[in-house]
């Protein structure tokens, strides 16, 4: 109750708003914000416990609305916080589909330790699942993301990539500003990673 001009739950709500507004794929983990919300939860809880015991001992009905109010604030805080984490989790999951089992360096900095761990766990179990599908034959589910229109596509190289070997042993040198005609299935990942650009 020290911050008179702030309402309960403001901080938690801010977390969500920031996440929603952020233009980056995944903004930096708001360590400070999360801690503050947790502290607020704790503070509310402790006040409530204190008053609940006094309520229990005194049976003062006038405390009842206050207790209820605090409880609702606490629930809300918790809900916002978990929503924040859940949304981040969704985006982390999307990373796995987009970039494969390794997180790009710049994004990794935005994640906190448990998140990285979650990513690795997720990545591992996804990989394990993909391997086990179809009687041990395995399917790469991260490929074939879009319905195929043609076997080959025309791509333009946006970044230097270096040598890239195709299934049939041909080696293609992907260099910035060169244009190629390649099997779609094999370059799909590179297109998704933004190294190649698909030109219609």
């Amino acid at each position: 109750m020290s911050r008179s001009n702030k309402m309960f739950g403001d901080k938690a709500f801010d977390l969500l708003k920031d996440l929603k507004r952020s233009s980056q794929t995944i903004p930096a983990f708001d360590d400070d914000g999360v801690r503050q919300v947790l502290e607020e939860i704790k503070a509310i809880f402790e006040e409530n416990v204190a008053q609940a015991s006094s309520y229990n001992s005194s049976g003062d009905r006038s405390l009842w609305p206050l207790l209820n109010y605090r409880h609702a604030a606490l629930q809300r805080n918790k809900r916002c916080l978990l929503a924040y984490l859940y949304e981040r989790m969704q985006r982390i999951k999307a990373l796995r589909w987009e970039f494969g089992p390794i997180i790009p360096g710049d994004i990794k900095q935005a994640l906190c330790e448990p998140e990285v761990q979650f990513f690795n766990n997720y990545s591992k179990s996804l990989a394990a699942y993909m391997r086990s599908v179809g009687d041990g034959q395995g399917i790469d589910l991260t490929g074939n993301l879009r319905p195929p229109k043609s076997l080959y596509i025309e791509v333009r190289c946006v970044e230097d990539y270096g040598k890239f070997e195709l299934d049939d042993g041909e080696v293609v040198h992907l260099k910035k500003n060169s244009q190629h005609y390649l099997p779609r299935a094999q370059v799909e990942t590179l297109v998704r990673q933004g190294i190649l650009q698909h030109i219609a």
Binding site: L166, V171, H173, Q179, H180, Y181
Partner: protein, 581 residues
């Protein structure tokens, strides 16, 4: 060696292979590569397209892909250099060259397998016979001479085969040697040396004749389009690209007007064939190519009539539009045409419909009177949708402007890709942006010409004119724009000067490239009276550089465009003066 049957000896051979396409930085090449790409796409052939600028680019591009590809296709580059010598390729790499630059390097012409030139040898002029330039090395003598011989060959044309032959010759020599006495051997050697020297002189002369002029062959885009036609894979888009390719040749003076007219007939038959093939000719909005007589006025469909007339080289030079009198004459012309100034000064597309419809005939009727008869030429226009109508020349100017729009954050390769995108109809906005850029470019050229002529900056050495731009320029530090400017300047100068021999003199223009490195760009323009695209500056520059001991960077595939050190410029021009008088 030449490949005449593109369908069987070139295309069929490539099916199912992976191809590296190296494309030079010009409009014709871009068009040709677009056509090739669509052909390869139809047949699901993997390819890689790499745009390059100049010899260094070619070498770099090849080295990067070396080892991965067995088939390399060079579009508008590499025909005039000994490609084997330049790239040192592995045995199993085959080069296909479709290049409109001439003359072809003789080593490419006589390569037996590795280098294939696409085209008809019957169309090539006086290629020296094999015997007259490659020495039959049975007469090889000793090692000293071998080396000397090799050295010579390298200087002139580079020697692909001489090394191998020389070894064989030595083996023969060693077997025969013991039978002759020492004296006889000596005599024989002298005799042989003499014959040899004579032969070498003769060879040098032949080679000089052959390489003296640089000129251009058929448009590569057209060549490739005909391949598409023979494969029955041609369509309107491909044809249009071919037309753009040949129009570039016309506008940049790479083709004689006679040859152009002949090609027009071929193209016209393609146009009517393809138009009849498509069923939707009744719909207004269908894409359609039509042949028509048009005016040599820059982008007039997308500009205002006055501006277009002023900024077009031909009309500006004939009417001397940079002078006050010229301006008056232009107004006279407009009056006589019955084109109100209000209309002439607003965008063509906003002009009165009646005036627009009559514009061509109005100009044509008065062309004789105002001494601009050559303003009329046959060309093609592409129309699709209800609004888009482009002349082939519009495309060429737009693409040239895009190719020139190199900036700090925009590499030449980006420009190349943009230009090749602009060719497709889906990217109309790129084309329109290119057209706007082209307007700026032409306006800038005109202003430069005006100030140059007013300040009498064109100087004559008696055998050629020269014009030196002192400062780096946003436009003219690039080869195409500088060449366009130089041409305009030369024509303008010839139109104003009283000197009788002026139309027979060529012009050299130079512009600093990069202040930091102190390099400058130099272009040579053939005389006004010369209709053929022959240009002797390539060879002349080479010789002048040797004489004046300046180092010349002849990196572009146009031999008449070179780079050299700013500080060497005076020395170089002096040497050139001496050489040409």
């Amino acid at each position: 060696m030449f490949i005449q049957d593109l369908k069987n000896d070139f295309y069929r051979q490539l099916i199912g292979k992976r191809i590296l396409i190296i494309v030079n930085y010009d409009v014709d090449a871009i068009c040709a590569s677009k056509i090739l790409q669509s052909l390869f796409k139809y047949d699901h052939m993997l390819y890689t397209v790499v745009p390059i600028m100049g010899l260094t680019g070619l070498r770099r591009a090849y080295n990067e892909h070396q080892g991965d590809v067995k088939y390399v296709l060079l579009v508008n580059c590499g025909g005039c250099v000994d490609i084997v010598e330049l790239l040192q390729p592995a045995e199993d790499v085959t080069f296909y060259i479709c290049d409109s630059h001439r003359p072809f390097d003789v080593c490419n012409v006589y390569s037996d397998r590795q280098v294939c030139l696409l085209g008809d040898p019957a169309l090539e002029e006086n290629i020296p016979a094999f015997e007259s330039i490659f020495y039959d090395s049975d007469g090889e003598d000793d090692d000293d001479e071998d080396e000397e011989h090799d050295g010579d060959e390298h200087e002139d044309s580079g020697a692909g085969e001489s090394d191998g032959d020389a070894d064989g010759g030595n083996a023969v020599e060693r077997r025969r040697a013991p039978k002759l006495s020492r004296l006889e051997r000596h005599e024989q050697r002298i005799m042989r040396q003499r014959a040899r020297r004579q032969w070498e002189l003769e060879r040098d002369r032949i080679m000089f004749d052959y390489t003296q002029f640089s000129y251009y062959g058929r448009s590569t885009a057209l060549l490739i389009f005909e391949l598409a036609w023979k494969l029955s894979k041609d369509n309107m888009d491909l044809l249009w690209w071919a037309i753009v390719g040949i129009s570039e040749q016309l506008l940049l003076g790479k083709i004689e007007s006679g040859a152009y007219t002949l090609e027009l007939e071929h193209i016209q038959s393609h146009v009517s064939r393809l138009t009849n093939k498509t069923n939707d000719q009744n719909t207004m909005s269908a894409s359609k190519i039509t042949f028509e007589n048009d005016l040599h006025l820059v982008l007039y469909r997308h500009w205002t009539v006055t501006e277009s007339m002023r900024y077009s080289r031909y009309s500006a030079c004939q009417l001397k539009l940079w002078t006050l009198r010229g301006e008056k004459r232009l107004h006279e012309l407009l009056v006589e045409m019955g084109l109100p100034l209000v209309h002439a000064r607003q965008t063509y597309s906003a002009m009165d419909l009646v005036l627009r419809k009559e514009f061509y005939t109005m100009v044509e009727q008065l062309a004789e009177k105002y001494a601009i008869p050559d303003i009329v030429y046959g060309t093609f226009t592409l129309s699709y949708g209800y609004r888009s109508r482009y002349a082939a020349a519009d495309y060429v100017y737009a693409l040239l402007a895009i190719l020139q729009s190199i900036k700090k954050h925009k590499t030449p390769e980006d420009c190349f890709m943009e230009a090749s995108d602009a060719l497709t109809r889906q990217h109309k906005q790129l084309l329109n942006a290119g057209i706007d850029n082209a307007k700026l470019l032409h306006a800038a050229i005109f202003r430069q010409v005006q100030s140059c002529l007013e300040a009498h900056q064109v100087h004559s050495t008696g055998s050629f004119f020269y014009y030196v731009l002192q400062e780096e320029h946003a436009f003219f530090s690039y080869p195409y724009a500088l060449a366009l400017l130089a041409k305009f300047v030369l024509h303008g100068h010839v139109a104003t000067t009283r000197a009788r021999q002026a139309p027979d003199l060529p012009l050299i223009a130079t512009c600093p490239l990069d202040a930091a490195q102190g390099m400058c760009l130099l272009v040579g323009i053939a005389p006004v009276r010369e209709d053929s695209p022959k240009n002797f500056f390539g060879k002349a520059f080479d010789q002048a550089a040797q004489k004046s001991k300046t180092s010349l960077l002849q990196d572009f595939f146009e031999p008449s465009i070179v780079q050299l050190r700013q500080s060497d410029l005076t020395r170089f021009l002096d040497a050139l003066t001496v050489l040409l008088t």
